[in-house]
Subunit: 410 residues, 2 copies
């Protein structure tokens, strides 16, 4: 199956938005046993029709993102229907659903929405639970064309919840088996070095890596389930407790799941991450069962007044805000103040300013406090501010999951 992606939108080519669809869909299609042969971006307007016609001349499956909204530059639906020779038909139930989106939010229905309720004949409508523009899967002339909305927060759940089940149910392909591991604290090239040779010996051809700040997601895919089990044993033996989870779950989802199972509460004390750790934990539905309190003590004075960090640690001549002593005092202070079972603290230098020869940008101290005592860890992370924050919060979540896994089996 030849697959192409057509990502539309002037904002992509003007550089106002980074195209994350290609990476997302590339990984997702790979999991379906498909590889993208070409990806094209064009501006809004007539270039979409030219590019789609070219893609249809080469590929069997063409995925188009963007241009499904209600405004005048949203023309993907019309162009695709015309190229495939499918008339557009008004779907009153779909319009009712779109209007419901507005009334649920106490807003008047949008008169421009009607265009979004026009469906090419025979198309499968992909529900949009996050926005108004539905996606569409069109089959004609031996081609499958899938139209998806431009915003990633709409596209990604639509892909997973609406497209993939529909596509899998079409059932004209042999099953593929897949296993995933989230490996924390080991870089991508070291992960690759440690397993590629033994997996090649086993005869496993497809190894996928997805490196994120502080973690590598490893994916093995095979049509042979027994071979995949043997490969999984190799991975588990090699990485041991650096494997946080084998499920499709985030590290924060894992922490909430483990803490909930155990009936434990978790508190956070953040300096350099500025709330990112609390944000990630509270992205997990149900996190309120385990998370009650967090502190963002960005300034030294806040560390002392809110968490009881001794002022002497922060005074000239003391170890300073970015130190194991302060991380420990923050974690222990947060645990006591919150009355929590576990507390984690992060203090570090996110940059670009604030570094020194002794404590360069990227320096991070973390501590996790529990009834068993307090563990303190130092890391040298990225010197890019946002990557640093992501890695620091990832390290904190890893400390929490390790503390939670000590006596719980995953």
């Amino acid at each position: 199956v030849q697959v192409e992606l057509l990502t539309t939108g002037s904002e992509l080519l003007l550089g106002h938005v980074v195209n994350t669809h290609t990476a997302f869909l590339g990984r997702e299609l790979f999991a379906l046993g498909l590889r993208v042969g070409r990806q094209v971006s064009v501006p809004d307007g007539p270039a979409i029709g030219e590019a789609l016609a070219e893609a249809l001349g080469r590929a069997d499956l063409v995925i188009v993102t963007g241009g499904l909204g209600p405004t005048s530059d949203d023309v993907t639906r019309e162009i695709a229907a015309e190229l495939l020779g499918l008339p557009l038909e008004f779907d009153p139930a779909l319009l009712a659903k779109i209007d419901g989106y507005f009334t649920q939010r106490g807003r008047p229905a949008d008169p421009l929405s009607r265009s979004q309720a026009m469906v090419p004949r025979g198309a499968f409508v992909l529900a949009n639970d996050v926005g108004t523009a539905p996606g569409l899967a069109l089959e004609a002339q031996g081609k499958l064309v899938v139209l998806l909305p431009g915003p990633p927060r709409e596209l990604q759940p639509m892909w997973r919840d609406a497209f993939v089940p529909w596509f899998r149910a079409r059932g004209d392909r042999p099953p593929l088996f897949e296993k995933n591991w989230c490996i924390v604290g080991i870089g991508e090239s070291r992960v690759a070095q440690r397993i590629e040779a033994p997996l090649r010996v086993l005869g496993l051809p497809e190894i996928g890596y997805c490196a994120r700040p502080g973690e590598v997601d490893l994916r093995l895919v095979s049509g042979d389930a027994a071979l995949l089990e043997r490969a999984a044993a190799v991975v588990r033996a090699e990485f041991g407790d650096a494997i946080a989870t084998e499920r499709h779950e985030t590290l924060e989802g894992l922490v909430v799941r483990l803490a909930t199972a155990r009936g434990w509460t978790v508190a956070t004390a953040e300096s350099c991450t500025g709330g990112l750790l609390g944000h990630r934990l509270t992205n997990v539905p149900g996190s309120s069962a385990i998370y009650r309190n967090g502190w963002i003590t960005y300034a030294d004075t806040a560390k002392t007044s809110e968490l009881g960090v001794p002022a002497a640690l922060l005074a000239p001549g003391g170890p300073g805000a970015v130190s194991g002593e302060v991380a420990r005092a923050m974690a222990e202070g947060a645990r006591v103040r919150a009355g929590a079972d576990l507390a984690v603290a992060i203090t570090g230098i996110a940059g670009p300013g604030g570094g020194s020869a002794e404590k360069p940008v990227g320096t991070c101290w973390l501590a996790v406090a529990s009834a068993r005592g307090t563990e303190v860890v130092q890391k040298i992370l990225s010197n890019d501010r946002e990557t640093f924050k992501q890695m620091a919060s990832q390290t904190a979540l890893d400390l929490l999951r390790r503390a939670l896994q000590i006596e719980t089996s995953v």
Copy 2:
């Protein structure tokens, strides 16, 4: 001038790497008065030659990224030289420079480097100060082809330090003008409804929208500066103080900039956003000058113990955690405890659980407290958890920037 980008590398299409070149080069080319008409990604291998031949059939300037390294899948240089009919010639000075890269780092010279010292006849060599692969600018058959290395940390300085000065020196081209607005609290289709007709009357052809949770970025582009000014006046008159900024900056960047200019400090009290607001503020370098304290009071008990929210407000029969009274008490409590000039509070129902007929998922109360008093606002936002959090933090940032703009002009 027709411009196309060809970004090569299987890792882009497998989703192992997000393509940031397109956004970077799109912005950079725009600043040179050029717009990218199409961007194509293809895997390593023969697809590069096909895609480059097609691009040369359409465009005057083609920029190719990736495939300049020393290994067998790095074939861009050879393919481009062949398509343009330029023989490759060995450049001993270039090899000496590449070898110097290794010796400077105490490593033996790489025997594979010789391929990187092969230069198509007449090409301009773009120095690589960060890695070994030089870039190349090739002119032939009325086309300009620019070959750049794949790693962003090599490509970006090479572009700015080597390509742009060389390109500018070749002579000038007509400028394009651009204006941007960040409009908060009005949906994309309502923004479009309100301005498309008057802008069409003016004769402005290019209107771009980029919708994000809680904001619409509006962009007007024209080669006619006077026309663009008239269009800008229409936009300003229509949207007034819903326009947060006309600069290329985030809302959190704007808040930090305004607060810094004013010498004010800001505190945050978050319930449903769980730290996202603090995270966004601390993504801005220099935010420590204005941000010292944040609280994540996720549980009712935390709101009372940390921020002094009266327990009666949270008890049965009271207005409850998601109410204007509690938002006000959180903001005022945070302002006093932090000794801050401004404090903002967010409490709401992010879902999926916790909603009721009276307070559905998506309900959000916010308050901003200053020496002038406290303003309380209710919003019904998305019923998708992450979108809700994003929109709630966006609304809080908008309240802060409005409070900061009251007596400051942007």
